[in-house]
Amino acid sequence: MFGFLARYGTVIALVLLVVFNLAYTRNFATLQTLNVNLTQVCTIVIVAVGMTLVIATGGIDLSVGSLMAISGALAPMIFMGTIFPVGNIYLAVAVAMIASILVAGLFGLFNGWLVSRFRIQPIVATLVLFIAGRGIAQVITNGNLQTFRVPQFQWIGLARPLGIPAQVIIMAVLVAAAAWALHRTVFGRSILAVGGNEKASELAGIAVSRIKLAVYAISGLCAGLAGLVVIAINSSSDANLVGLGMELDAIAAVAVGGTLLSGGKATIIGTLLGALTIQLVRYTLLANGVPDAAALVVKAGIIAFAVWLQQQHRV
C-alpha cells in the first residue's frame, strides 16, 4: 500500500489537488481552466525536459532562464529588422526562430564544454551564464522592451489549431519524443549510464564527453524555444524578465516528478506530472485568493511533501 502511494506519489498529489479544486474553486471544471493551466505550464515543461536530461547525467543547468532571455531578445531583433533589414516577413521569422534557438543551443554547448572539457562542476559552470547570460541579453537590447505584433511569429504562442494551443502541441511532442528517446535509444541509455557511473560508462565505450555536450546543448535549445513561446504570448520581449527564476521552477518540476538529482535515473513523464502539480498548486492558491506570502509557504510545503512521497519507495 505504501509502496503504491510512493510510486504514484505525484499522481496522487495531482489527483488530490484536482479534487480539492472541484470542491472549492469556482468555475474550475471548464475547458478554459484546462486551457489556462496548460498554456501556463508549457514553458516550464519545455525547459524541464532539457533539464531532466541534464540532471540524468548527474548535472544541473542554472542558466536556462538566462538563455530564454537571450533567445527572447534575439528573435524580435531579427524579425523586426533591428539587426539586418528584412525582406520577406516569413523568411525573417523563420531565420529569427531558428537563429535564436540555435544561439541558445550554442550557449548550452558552451556549458557542456565547461563541464566535460574542464570538469567544472555543473552548478558553477552554468552559474557563469546564469549571471552573464541575462546581462548579455540586456546588453544587446540595451535593457529595452521590444514590442511587436507579428502574427507570423506569434502563432507559436497564440495559434490554436483544432482548438488546442500551439505551444501545448509543441510541449506534448517534445515530451513524447524525449520520453521515447530516454528509454528506447542508445542516446538515452547512455545518458543514464553516464549519470549512474561515469567511469564505468567511459570504460564501456560510451562517449561520455559527447553525451554531456549533447544534453547541455539540448537544454539550451529547449530554453531557447521556451523563450520564444513566452515572448510570443506577451507580444513583447523584456530581457530583464523573460525566464526569470525559471531554473528553480524547472528543477522543482524535475524533482517533484521523481527524477533523482544525483543522476542515473530519470523520468520525463514524471517531470510533466511534476510541472503540472506545481502549476496546479499555483493556480489553486491564486484562484482562492491566498495572499502571496502565505502562498509561498504553502507551495514550499507541497513541494517538500511531494518529493518526500517520491522518496519513500527507496529503502
Binding site: R184, A193, G196, A204
Partner: protein
Amino acid sequence: MTAQPDQAALLLDMRDIQKRFAGIPALADASLQVLPGEIHALIGQNGAGKSTLIKVLTGYYRRDAGQVLFERKPFEVGSPHQAQVSGISTIYQEINLVPLRSVTENICLGREKRRRGLLDWSAMHAEAERLLSRFSIGIDVRRPLSDFNTATQQMVAIARAIGFSARLVIMDEPTSSLDEREVSVLFSVIRQLKADGVSVLFVSHKLDELYEVCDRVTIMRDGRTVRSAAMSDIGKLELVAAMLGRDVAAVEGHATAFGERDRSRIGDVLFTAEGLAAGQLVRDVSFDLRRGEIAGFAGLLGAGRTETARLVFGADRRSAGEMTMEGASYHPARAADAIAAGMGFCTEDRKAEGIVPEMTVAENITLALLPKISRNGILNEARQKEIVERFIRELDIKCSGPNQKVRELSGGNQQKVLLARWLAMNPKLLILDEPTRGIDVGAKAEIQRIIRKLADDGLGVLMISSELEEVMEGADRIFVLREGVRVAELEGQAADEEDVLAAMAHGGAAKEAA
C-alpha cells in the same frame, strides 16, 4: 549438526534473523554464534546473505525478525556507529573508506586523538603509521587515500578496523584484493588478535585460507544457516557440498576448473605490445598474445599489472610503446577505440569502474553492447532480452529478473554481471583483471570453465589475478611484472611456483636469485 557451543560462553548469538528487501527475503532464518577469542568463518554462495547478515548485525539494516545477543545482553543498534561503540568493528565487502581524505583520517576517524579538546594531528599520524607498520606498509599517511591502489586501500581498511579496541572484528572478504604476501601478513595480525582474546568473523571464498586460520565455520545457503561446525570436523568437499546444497559426490567434479589444455588450439599472434610505458607505474612492458591463448600477468602489489591493462585498453594515455592488434598497428585514445578493435576489459574495481548501480541487470549487461543491439540509435528490446536472458542463465546470476537493479545484487553476482557485459560483446581479446574476485567456489569454477571454452573458440585472454594458483592453472603463458617492468616470461601450466614467486620478488628465476 555438531554440538552447539556452550550458550553462556557465547560472545555473539544471532538467532532466527530475517530480512526482506521489497518483499524478497535475503535472510530467511539465519543464525550465527561466535565464541570469545575464536576465528570464525562465515561462508556461502554468492547471494547467500553473508554481507546482509553482517549489515544487520552492525545496524546498517534493520532486521525484520530475530534476536541478537552480544556478550549475553540484547543487542539493539540503530547505526554502525553504535555497533562500533559497543565493540564490533567491521570491514565491509566493498572498501568503504573516503578516498579524498588522507590515510590518517581514514584510519583515525571515529576515535580521534585529542589534546586540550582539539585534534592532535601528529599523534594521529603516528598512530596511523604504527598500525600500518604492523602490515609492513610504509606510506605517506598524509596523502589522500585515492593516491593508493586497491590492495593498499584494503590494508588501510583493515588497519582501521583493528585500530578500534573491539571485541569482535568482522572482515567481509578482506583478502579478495590482496596477494599472498599480504594475506600472510593479515593472518599473522588475525592470530595476534586472537591471542589478545578478540574474536574475528571472517568471510572468504578462498577455502584454503579458511582452513589456515579459522577455528569454526558457519555455512549459509539462500538466507539460512545450514550448518555450523569446528573447522577441523569438516572436510573441504563436505564444506562445498553444504554450501552449494548438493551431495559430496556431485561436488567432486568441481575440483579442477581450467583442466588440461589442448595446446594445439592456440593460433597465430593476435596482439603485441612493445615497450609500453606511462609514468612511474609502467616503465617497460612488452608481451604478445595469440588467438586461443590465455596469458597471465603475475606480480606483487603495485607491480603495474592493472596499469598495463589500462594502457592496452586505452583507458589511460601511454607515454611510449607500440601495439598491434590482428597485425595492424593499434593506437587506442579511449576505451571506445579498444572496444571497436574487439577488446573487452573487466576491471578490478567493480564498484567504481564497473557496475552502474541504479541500472538494471539487463542494462548493465548490454552497456558495452549498445551499438550492436540497436539500429540507427534505436534499441532493439527483443535482441537485448535474448542476450540478457542467455547470460543470466549461463552464468547463473542470482537475481529476481533482468529488471532488478544491480545495486541490489550480492557482490559476487555483480561480478558476474560485469563478466556477462564483456562476454556478451563477443570480443577477440578479453582482459580480465581479478575476474573471480569475490566469487564463490561453484561459480568460480563455472567462470573458469567459460573462459577456457571461449579461449578454445579462439578468444585471446589476458588474465590478471592475485591468486597465483589461478594464474598458474589457467594461463598458457605467464608474464611476470615487477615495478612496471616485464621481468620474466614463463610457460603456464608447466611453470614451477617457486620460479614465478622468485621472479615476482626479485625479477629473476629461483635459482639465480638464490
